[in-house]
C-alpha cells in the first residue's frame, strides 16, 4: 500500500501515445478504403448478387415406377398427395405455426413438435421440413386459404405410393416410407422426406423404381412467397416392373387363408416364376405410405399372429411327412432303399426302450416304398431312417436345397435348419441319438423348412430334377441352381409316388384329384407340441388352437406341358388333407381351368370360432 499514492509523476511514454494514434489512423484508412471499394466501386455488382440470392431452388419429386402383375394389371401406382412443410428461415414463430398446424389437422402438437425438432438439423437452409406428410383434401383446403397469413408454411406436391390391393400383396411388394437416418447416409441423392422402399420388392428394386428428381428455381419476396418459377430439370419417373404374380390367383390364395395363419407358394415348375406368394395374416402396405402412427405400429408389432411375418420365406416349420420324399430320395441316392423291399408295419416300432408309433394305430401291414409314400407309413420310414442315419439324410436334404436360402428377391429370407451330429452337439451339448434318426425320417424333430424351399423341391420333382431359383419378376431369366442328385428312373419313382398318393384309394391326398390334370401331392403335419395324453383324448375340434399341429400339403400338377408346384402350410390346421388340401385344389382348378372356387363360409366361420376358443383357453389359464 505504501506506493499507492506516491507514484512518480512521470507522463506516459510519448512514443507509445503516438503509436496508438497512428494505429487509429491506420484502422480508419484501411476500412474506409475497403468500404469504398466494396460499397461504391463494386456496389452495383453486389446488388445484382444480392438479387440473385433471392432465388431459391427445390427438387421436384419423381414418381416411382409402376408395378404390374403378370397380366398387366396395375398393382402399385402413384397418386397426387400434398405434404405440409415448414421453411424455418421464413417462419417468424415456429411454435405458433406448429400449434396452428396441429389445430388444422387435428394432430397432437407435441408429436409434431418432436418431429420438427428431430429433423431440424437435417434440412438444408430454405428447404421445407415436412411435418405432415399427407394432407387430406379438407385439410389442404383449409391450409391453402390460410397460407398467405403464415409465412414459412409450404405445401408440397409429391406423388404418393398407392397400392391398389393393399393387404393382398403386402409381403411381396413391401412398402415405402420416409427415408430414415440410415437410408440418408447410404444414398446421398436422398433428401429428408423422400420415400424409399423399406420392404419387399419396393426395397429390393429401389434403384430401378425411384427415378431421378427434377429441380425448379423460383424467386421469393421478403416473406418467402414465391414470385416467379422456372423448371431447371424435369423429373424422370422410375422404371415400370411386371411381377410374375398372377393377381387372380393371389386373390384366391388370400381368400382361402382368410381368418387363418399360413402361407401358399405357387411356382411354375419350368421357369421358377412364382405365380402366387400368399401369406396370412397380412397388413396394408398403404398404411406406411402416409406415415404409420406409433399406435398403428405397436398394433402391428404386438399382434400375436405377426402380420408382418412372411410365412412363405420367413417362417420355418418341421416339414412332417412331406419330408418322406427327401428321405426316400436319400435312400435311392445312396442305394440303401430297394423300392421292392417290404417292411411290416404293425403300428409301432421299438427302439431301445422307446416305442415309436405309426400314425395309423392298427398299422399298415406289409408296405414297399410306393405304398409307404401313398399311405405315409411312419414305421417304414423309421426303418429307413435308422439305416440311413442323419449323415446321409442331411447330405441329401442339403443337396436339394433345404437348410439354405433360396435367394428369392425379397429381404430377410430364413434358411431353416437341417440338423447334423455336430450341430446338435454345439446347439444342445448332446450327441445325436438313435431316436433322432427316426424322428428326422418322418420330418419331425430338428428339421425346419420354409414353404418356399418345399415348393422349389417339388418343382424339381415335377420338372426332372432341376432346382430353380424362385423368381418374382416376369422378365427374369430362369436360373437352375442345382439338380436333384438322382437318376431319371429314381426321380420318376418319387414323382410317381406323389401321383399315386392322389390317385390311390388309400392316398392321403385324394381330395386334390382333378379331371384331366396329372396331379401329385404329399400331405404332412408338423407337430407343434408333443401331445399329452390329456390332449390326445380330445376330439380334433376341442384341441386348443395353440396346440394343434400345422397342416402341410405340397403338390405338383401338369397338363398340356404346363407344370406347377404348390406348397401350402396352414398353421394349426391339424391335418394336411383337410387343412391345406382344399386350398391346393382351388389353386389347381384355377391354374388349369380358370375356375375360381371361393373359400366356403363355414371354413371361415370355423377358423374364427377356433380363434375365439383359443383366446378363451388363454384366459382360463391366466385365471388359474
Amino acid at each position: 500500500m505504501s506506493d499507492l499514492y506516491n507514484e512518480s509523476e512521470q507522463q506516459a511514454p510519448r512514443s507509445g501515445l503516438l503509436l496508438l494514434q497512428v494505429l487509429i489512423l491506420g484502422l480508419f484508412c484501411l476500412f474506409a478504403v475497403r468500404l469504398w471499394y466494396l460499397q461504391i466501386h463494386r456496389g452495383e455488382e453486389y446488388q445484382v448478387k444480392a438479387l440473385e440470392n433471392q432465388l431459391r431452388q427445390e427438387s421436384i419429386p419423381s414418381p416411382r415406377g409402376l408395378i404390374r402383375d403378370r397380366n398387366g394389371d396395375l398393382l402399385a401406382v402413384n397418386e397426387p398427395a400434398y405434404a405440409l412443410g415448414i421453411i424455418r428461415e421464413d417462419c417468424p414463430d415456429v411454435d405458433r405455426l406448429v400449434h396452428q398446424i396441429a389445430t388444422w389437422t387435428g394432430k397432437d402438437y407435441f408429436e409434431l413438435k418432436t418431429l420438427y425438432n428431430k429433423n431440424r438439423k437435417r434440412v438444408k437452409p430454405f428447404e421445407p421440413l415436412i411435418i405432415v406428410p399427407d394432407l387430406t383434401f379438407a385439410q389442404l383446403a383449409v391450409v391453402e386459404t390460410n397460407k398467405l397469413r403464415w409465412p414459412g408454411l409450404e405445401i408440397q406436391f409429391r406423388p404418393r405410393r398407392l397400392y391398389r390391393y393393399g393387404t393382398l400383396l403386402a409381403h411381396v411388394l413391401g412398402y415405402v416410407a420416409e427415408a430414415d437416418e440410415e437410408d440418408l447416409n447410404k444414398r446421398p441423392e436422398l433428401a429428408l422426406g423422400d420415400y424409399v422402399g423399406k420392404q419387399g420388392i419396393e426395397l429390393m428394386l429401389e434403384d430401378r423404381m425411384r427415378g431421378i428428381k427434377g429441380r425448379t428455381q423460383y424467386q421469393v419476396d421478403v416473406n418467402g412467397r414465391r414470385l416467379k418459377e422456372r423448371i431447371l430439370k424435369h423429373p424422370q419417373a422410375g422404371r415400370e416392373i411386371s411381377l410374375s404374380i398372377d393377381l387372380e390367383l393371389q386373390k384366391l390364395c388370400m381368400d382361402w387363408l382368410a381368418e387363418e395363419a399360413g402361407g401358399v407358394a405357387v411356382m411354375d415348375a419350368d421357369t421358377g416364376q412364382l405365380w402366387a406368394l400368399a401369406t396370412a395374416p397380412s397388413y396394408d402396405s398403404n398404411d406406411f405410405s402416409s406415415g404409420l402412427s406409433s399406435k398403428q405400429w405397436a398394433k402391428l408389432r404386438d399382434d400375436p399372429l405377426h402380420p408382418m411375418q412372411n410365412r412363405v420365406i420367413q417362417s420355418v416349420y418341421p416339414p412332417g411327412s412331406i419330408f418322406k420324399h427327401v428321405v426316400a430320395g436319400a435312400g435311392l441316392h445312396y442305394d440303401m432303399i430297394d423300392p421292392k423291399e417290404t417292411v411290416f408295419c404293425s403300428g409301432s416300432m421299438k427302439l431301445g426302450r422307446r416305442i415309436f408309433r405309426c400314425w395309423r394305430k392298427g398299422g399298415h401291414g406289409k408296405v414297399d416304398l410306393r405304398r409307404a409314400l401313398i399311405e405315409s407309413c411312419d414305421v417304414y420310414f423309421y426303418k429307413q431312417g435308422k439305416k440311413l442315419t442323419v449323415d446321409r439324410m442331411s447330405a441329401f436334404a442339403k443337396a436339394v436345397g433345404f437348410g439354405e436360402k433360396t435367394g428369392i428377391r425379397l429381404p430377410h429370407e430364413k434358411a431353416g435348419n437341417i440338423p447334423t451330429r455336430e450341430w446338435k452337439l454345439k446347439r444342445f451339448g448332446e450327441s445325436w441319438q438313435g431316436g433322432d434318426n427316426l424322428n428326422m425320417a418322418i420330418g419331425q424333430g430338428f428339421t425346419l423348412v420354409t414353404p418356399l424351399q418345399v415348393v422349389r423341391f417339388f418343382a424339381g420333382l415335377a420338372n426332372g430334377g432341376k432346382l430353380l431359383k424362385p423368381l418374382l419378376l416376369k422378365d427374369e431369366k430362369t436360373d437352375i441352381q442345382a439338380r436333384i442328385p438322382l437318376k431319371p428312373d429314381q426321380l420318376e419313382l418319387l414323382r410317381q409316388g406323389l401321383i399315386d398318393t392322389v390317385e390311390d384309394a388309400h392316398g392321403t391326398c385324394r381330395r386334390i384329384r382333378t379331371k384331366g390334370v396329372t396331379v401329385g401331392g404329399k400331405s404332412g403335419t408338423a407337430q407343434v407340441v408333443r401331445l399329452t395324453d390329456e390332449l390326445k383324448a380330445l376330439k380334433d375340434d376341442d384341441i386348443p388352437y395353440r396346440f394343434r399341429d400345422h397342416a402341410w400339403m405340397a403338390a405338383i400338377a401338369e397338363k398340356d406341358g404346363r407344370r406347377f408346384a404348390i406348397a401350402c402350410l396352414v398353421e394349426h390346421g391339424l391335418h394336411g388333407g383337410s387343412g391345406a388340401g382344399p386350398i391346393i385344389k382351388a389353386v389347381i382348378d384355377y391354374l388349369f381351368e380358370g375356375k375360381i372356387t371361393p373359400n366356403p363360409e363355414e371354413r371361415k366361420a370355423k377358423a374364427r370360432a377356433v380363434r375365439a376358443l383359443s383366446l378363451k383357453h388363454k384366459e382360463k389359464r391366466h385365471a388359474h
Partner: protein
C-alpha cells in the same frame, strides 16, 4: 468517504457517451438482424431484449468499476493473477464441456468463462509490471513480461480456445509496444516474427487452416467456410452509398447471412446504412479509441496510462479483426465487434473496462498525498 464532486467533473464524458451510443446502435442493428424473424427456427426477437438487459447490467458493472480508486488494483494485481491461474486450472478438472471445449465453470446461476477474467487480469498485471519499467524493454525484461502473459495464454489455448489465448498475447503485446522496447529488440522482432509465422501453421487445427485457405480463395468452398465471407461481402457491398434502409436489407432479411447477430452483425449494418452509415460508425469507433488515448495521456501516474493503453488494445484488436473479417480482409475467426455484436458476457466486460478507464480519467486530479 464523501464523494468528491470533482470526481464527476473529471469523468471523460465523451467516452461514456460514445460507449452508450455504440451500444444502442448495436441494439438497433440486432433488432434488424432478428427482424422479429427466426434463425433456424429459434425465435430471435429476444436477442435484442436480452442485449438490452445485458447492457443495463453492463452499466451497473461500469459504475462499480468507477467507484473505487483504481490504484488499489496495483496491490491486487498479483493476487488476481494467481486466482485467475487457479480458476483456469480448475476448468481442466471441473469444467463444463460445451462444443468439445472445456471453457466453462458452472457457478449454478451462470456459466462462467475464466478466460474472460484472464483478459482483465492481464490488463492489470501488465499495467503493474510495465509501469515500473524505467527503461525500454531489453530482451531479459521482455522475456519476463511475455512469460507472465504466456502462463495465462498457454492455459487458455489448451482448453482449447486459441482465439482468447491469442487475444491475451495481443493485448499484452500492444502494451509492450506502448512502453517501448530497445532498438535491438525491435529490429530482432521485426525480422524474427515474419520468419516464425509460417511455423505456426503446424500448430493450427485443420479447421483453422481450412479457414485461412478459404480466406485466400473463398470460392473454393462456396457453401462451407467461404459462404460466410461471400455472403458478408455481398451484404456490405450491396448496401451501396446510401444503404437499403433500416429493416430493408435483403441479405439480412432473407437470412442469407449467417451469424448475422453475432460475428457478422456489422454486415447487416453495412447493408442497411450503406457507405455513409458505415463510415459514421467507423468514425465513432475511432473517436472512442482516441478518447482512450487521451485518458492514457492525461492519467495521473503510469499505472493508469498503462491500464488505459491495455483497454485500448483490448478494443482495438477486436475492432480490427472483426471488421477485417466482415469486410473480407481476414480469415473467419469468431471474434465479436464490441457493442455491436450480440453477446452477454462480452457486453458486460466491455462496459466494465470502459468503467475502469473512466475511473482512471476521473481521478487524474488527485495530487500526491503525503
Amino acid at each position: 468517504m464523501p464523494i468528491d464532486r470533482r470526481l464527476l467533473l473529471y469523468i471523460n464524458w465523451p467516452l461514456f457517451g460514445l460507449a452508450v451510443i455504440l451500444f444502442l446502435i448495436g441494439v438497433l442493428n440486432l433488432y434488424s438482424a432478428s427482424g422479429t424473424r427466426l434463425e433456424a427456427g429459434m425465435n430471435m426477437a429476444p436477442y435484442y431484449h436480452r442485449q438490452l438487459l445485458w447492457g443495463l447490467m453492463g452499466l451497473i458493472g461500469m459504475v462499480v468499476f468507477m467507484f473505487f480508486d483504481y490504484r488499489h488494483l496495483k496491490t491486487m494485481a498479483w493476487p488476481l493473477f494467481w486466482i485467475t491461474v487457479i480458476l483456469l486450472v480448475a476448468v481442466f478438472f471441473a469444467g463444463k464441456t460445451i462444443y468439445g471445449a472445456r471453457r466453462w465453470l458452472d457457478l449454478g446461476f451462470m456459466n462462467f468463462q475464466p478466460s474472460e477474467l484472464a483478459k482483465i487480469a492481464i490488463l492489470i498485471v501488465g499495467a503493474r509490471i510495465l509501469s515500473r519499467e524505467r527503461e525500454p524493454l531489453n530482451f531479459i525484461r521482455l522475456a519476463y513480461v511475455l512469460g507472465v502473459g504466456l502462463v495465462l495464454a498457454g492455459l487458455i489455448i489448451k482448453q482449447p480456445d486459441l482465439g482468447s489465448g491469442l487475444s491475451i498475447l495481443m493485448i499484452l503485446g500492444g502494451m509492450i509496444l506502448f512502453r517501448g522496447v530497445t532498438a535491438r529488440v525491435f529490429k530482432t522482432c521485426l525480422v524474427a516474427i515474419p520468419c516464425l509465422l509460417p511455423l505456426s501453421w503446424f500448430f493450427l487445427h485443420d479447421y483453422q487452416k481450412q479457414r485461412i485457405m478459404t480466406f485466400l480463395d473463398p470460392t473454393t468452398d462456396p457453401l462451407g467456410a467461404g459462404y460466410h465471407i461471400i455472403q458478408s461481402e455481398i451484404a456490405i457491398g450491396s448496401g451501396g452509398f446510401w444503404g437499403k434502409g433500416f429493416l430493408e436489407g435483403t441479405q439480412s432479411q432473407l437470412r442469407f447471412l449467417p451469424e448475422r447477430h453475432t460475428d457478422f452483425a456489422v454486415a447487416v449494418f453495412g447493408e442497411e446504412w450503406g457507405f455513409v452509415g458505415t463510415m459514421i460508425l467507423l468514425t465513432l469507433f475511432c473517436v472512442f479509441l482516441y478518447q482512450l488515448v487521451v485518458i492514457a495521456r492525461d492519467a495521473r501516474g503510469l499505472f493508469g496510462s498503462y491500464l488505459s493503453a491495455g483497454v485500448f488494445f483490448y478494443f482495438f484488436w477486436q475492432i480490427l479483426i472483426n471488421t477485417g473479417m466482415v469486410l473480407g480482409l481476414m480469415p473467419v475467426v469468431g471474434i465479436p465487434l464490441p457493442f455491436i455484436s450480440y453477446g452477454g458476457s462480452a457486453t458486460l466486460v466491455n462496459f466494465c473496462l470502459v468503467g475502469l478507464v473512466l475511473n482512471v480519467s476521473m481521478r487524474r486530479f488527485l495530487f500526491k498525498q503525503a
